[in-house]
């Protein structure tokens, strides 16, 4: 009988606890005072889960620098921040979103932050598909303001472009602007094959490579699309032309970069780094340890940041972050882009006098003196769809002084806009398997790439 009683009492206790939670949740209403409620949406699970602290740290470093916020724990940004003020109002970080790089979770978390915790503004999300989902959600919540964190898909600020969404960094295609010209001029490529993850970020990243390479006269002879997070790339690399039949390969595979490159070497023998141009996945997201050592000398597309750039503005930014969170990798786009998003928010709130909604959206800055920006007096500008026109930095894998391998800036690409000189339009489909077509045309930055040596932008134009 003792067991029977236990079997009844335990579920009953569970039920009572459950009902308490349900009732308190159902009737709870968030405190509404004269504060601005801000949510930071990032990933804590999935492929980008490692970026959780980087994103929060980047955003909070800006809140601390420009809004006087007090760091709770220097080594753990997600421990929180207190005392932020902007526009004469207290800024309350009501929650951190925990995405997993998928649209359903991103939307669920966004609802929690914006509706349950009643945030007025979101800084985030982190990744491309999440931004597509949230851009569509933003359309339905015009009084809430969304400032994209680090998402690289084109759609949120090109085709969907809700009026309450802002992005102060480039999309995945912009990050690669100039890399095609480098291939054409520095490596002498005239034709190339491209392999890309078969989803929005892979397509967008590849679109930047294709558009830039074709713009200067290059030809793409083959496009291959492995599914995201594929395990076996043998069948896909076999679709690529052999190394003797093509000048080079653009490699936009991020789901499993090492696996795809291993499959290539198994099929065609040792890879020649000069025949490969990767996107950011060759050097960031942990691949500096796995991929980079085998591809020293390869050019790689950027992440909208200038690692090691020696401009006073860059140093100022880096100092601002490291004094608050010493362990954060400042030149990582996850930190930099969230920092700029939060900074823009503080500026917007200062201008709107702490008002949110339409007033804040009107007041959001149209220029931002971001750390790695050089053009236009060091100002990133927003276009009509509230998307950044931003300097880009193309990279090369090289040996650092301490023997490690990492990306070094080799080219400065000024004022890269999202349209690539009109190739991408709101009425055109977003990047996809066949978008964009390979087309010779003029981009605003064509012929204006400057060589960068030891972190200094030289006057030498890349020819």
């Amino acid at each position: 009988m003792r067991l029977g009683r236990w079997k009844l009492l335990l579920p009953l206790a569970l039920l009572v606890a459950f009902c308490t939670v349900a009732t308190s949740g159902a009737l709870a209403t968030p405190a509404q005072s004269g504060e601005v409620r801000v949510a930071i949406m990032t990933d804590c699970k999935g492929g980008f889960g490692f970026a959780y602290e980087l994103d929060i740290g980047g955003a909070q470093a800006a809140f601390s620098q420009w809004g006087g916020g007090k760091v709770t724990n220097k080594n753990k940004p997600s421990a929180g921040m207190t005392g932020i003020k902007a526009g004469g109002k207290r800024v309350n970080i009501v929650g951190y979103g925990c995405g997993d790089d998928t649209a359903p979770t991103a939307l669920k978390e966004t609802r929690r932050l914006m509706e349950q915790l009643n945030a007025d503004v979101m800084v985030g999300p982190l990744s491309g598909d999440e931004a597509v989902a949230i851009a569509n959600y933003a359309k339905t919540k015009p009084t809430k303001t969304f400032i994209i964190g680090t998402a690289g898909s084109q759609d949120p600020t090109m085709q969907i472009a809700p009026k309450n969404m802002f992005r102060y960094h480039g999309d995945g295609a912009q990050w690669n602007a100039g890399i095609g010209e480098l291939a054409y001029k520095r490596l002498g490529w005239r034709n190339a094959a491209i392999i890309m993850d078969d989803y929005s970020f892979g397509w967008t990243s590849a679109a930047g490579m294709i558009a830039d390479f074709c713009a200067v006269g290059g030809k793409i002879t083959k496009r291959v699309f492995p599914p995201l997070n594929n395990a076996d790339y043998a069948a896909f690399v076999r679709q690529l032309p052999a190394p003797d039949d093509v000048d080079g390969y653009f490699w936009a595979v991020g789901g499993n970069t090492p696996g795809s490159l291993t499959a290539f070497e198994q099929a065609y023998g040792k890879a020649d780094p000069k025949q490969f141009i990767g996107n950011l996945f060759f050097a960031f997201l942990g691949n500096d340890k796995v991929v980079a050592p085998k591809f020293v000398g390869s050019y790689i597309g950027g992440f909208g940041t200038g690692p090691g750039l020696k401009t006073p503005q860059a140093k100022q930014y880096e100092r601002a972050v490291t004094t608050r969170y010493p362990k954060l990798p400042v030149a990582d786009g996850f930190v930099y882009n969230y920092y700029n998003a939060a900074w823009a928010l503080v500026l917007g709130l200062n201008k709107s006098g702490g008002q949110v909604g339409a007033a804040l959206q009107r007041a959001m800055p149209r220029t931002l003196k971001s750390g790695y920006e050089v053009s236009d007096g060091g100002n990133v500008r927003l276009d009509v769809r509230r998307q950044a026109i931003q300097d880009q930095y193309q990279l090369q894998l090289a040996k650092n002084a301490d023997g490690t391998i990492g990306p070094q800036v080799v080219a400065y690409v000024p004022n890269v806009d999202q349209s690539f000189g009109g190739l991408f339009k709101p009425s055109s489909p977003p990047p996809g398997r066949s978008q964009p077509a390979c087309k010779k045309q003029k981009t605003p930055w064509q012929g204006k790439l400057k060589a960068v040596k030891n972190g200094v932008i030289t006057k030498t134009t890349i020819k």
Binding site: G4, W6, V21, L27
Partner: protein, 365 residues
Amino acid sequence: MRKTAWDPKTVAERGLGLGAVVVALLGPVIFSAYFTSTVLTQTFIFGIAAASLIFLSAYGGMISLAQTALMGIAGYVIGNLVTKGGAGGETKGLVLGWDPTLALVLALVITTAVGLILGAVASRSFGIYFLMLTLTFGVIANYFFGQVTKLGGFSPIAGINQYTPPFVGDILGHPDKLYYIALGTSLVVYVVMRYLVRTPFGLSLQGLRDEPVRLGSLGYNVPLHRTLAFGFAAFVAALAGVLLVWWDGQIAPQNLGLGATIDLLIIAVIGGLGRLEGAWLGAFAFIVINNYVRDIQFPFASEKGVLPWVGGSFNTVIGVVFLVIVLVSPDGLMGIWNRMWDAVRRRGGPSQGVETREPAAEAGT
């Protein structure tokens, strides 16, 4: 032995059920906007999906892991058909911009047809083999929509809830509308299922569940009955799928992935695989835990009163709840309810005309 009309348990159940419906009808007045538009609306939607699973399990003896995939198919049909491309439009899928009413009809028809085909294939399998077949179907559907990029691919088809049939109207501006549609659909599904299991078809289905060989030898077409039941459950899952894309506004491969499939199974098991009511009860429990577990306050712990190992650990908490329920009450929350009545009866002795234990076959009837 038949239950009498005055069975106190039945009276209590009907009273509670009626009370729940009344509270649900007054939901938008009583509860916060978030609770009604997110927690309760989702409860109804996933309750309907879980009901399709419980119907097959309780009355057909078929535990299907394909219900999530069927929901997803309905969602993908609507998403591909109604969304529009171009500037300011949607960017994934076929973006055909068709009439939402036509899309709704096609979503229900196509999903039901797929359900019938799958049912026909799986109808000769039993037990673990049926489970594996339906799971395989779910995995195939997930990969299909994830990799056929023309139909959406890995990225979500979003913005679907801007396009609803005229009789549904603007659900974005008036979220209560969708709340009542989901509530109404739940009630209709429940009533129709309760009715269906009392028809000759439903009764023979229950016979097939218990003794398929005997029923077959008596001349019943066992595979056909199972196929039709599966088709009906697919239709119900399609309703849930349509409501899901109207509510969420998007559909992505993860909506029909393994995680989502297991979530639905957990909902059904928490609620109780033996009784239809368990579907909505399980969905409510699951969604409340999912939404509020990270906000649970423990005043005695940590500087902010939040236990860091609880905050955000939804999977851990739901896992513990699941384990406790499976251990102490394999019939889920509805089983706890039955157990409570058993305890009451034991204390007071069985009343006249009241059976002491309901056989699973008649559960919910």
